[in-house]
Symmetry: C2
């Protein structure tokens, strides 16, 4: 039986919209996702999951109530659950994200993006 690698660069060719995470595989009840971001997201927190951000391309700043962190390619940061944060990208950046499956990306079901698998 063949099993397949997830090639992140290839997955990132499949969409262009910003702030709309796409699931690429699953891990222990979590979604492994890629996302393209540009501009400022909303301030939010998640009460039941840490939030894993790794930059694949570009640069982002994660503003948090505990301070800010800037990430470039090959850098990651985990925002602890309940910590309010806001990702900001001056230019388009591509990220690997991991969150508990079903987590609203905005912290609020009403405004959350629908996560589709690619």
């Amino acid at each position: 039986m063949a099993i397949e690698a997830v090639n992140l660069a290839e997955k990132l060719t499949k969409f262009s919209e910003h702030w709309s995470p796409k699931k690429v595989t699953a891990f222990n009840g979590h979604d492994i996702m890629v996302v393209k971001v540009k501009g400022e997201f909303n301030w939010h927190s998640h009460d039941d999951t840490d939030d894993f951000f790794m930059v694949l391309e570009g640069r982002i700043r994660i503003e948090t109530e505990d301070g800010d962190v800037t990430l470039g390619p090959g850098e990651l940061y985990v925002v602890p659950k309940n910590v309010r944060h806001r990702p900001v990208a001056e230019e388009e950046a591509h990220l690997l994200l991991i969150e508990k499956a079903g987590t609203p990306n905005t912290g609020d079901e009403a405004t959350a993006a629908t996560i589709t698998e690619i």
Copy 2:
């Protein structure tokens, strides 16, 4: 308060031994780790965690009971729990790993590497 990015390349300068994962941060009860690998690991499985492998540098083959997969930089694969597998690297490769905290890397407490944080 300052918060700090995890720079994976910088973490990888801190050790040289193979098959000895180093924790770089935590995420939802999991260890986020980097590891240098070369040669063949043992066949094993984990009965309580999926096994996340992402290649940062080099190339690995993950042989599994369901088939084999080869990963290069920017590629990842999640070995489902209970699936027997063996990572193999012809040349040294550098990986990002995620496993439930406390998981023996060999699948067996008796032979597992001790995970230290760097």
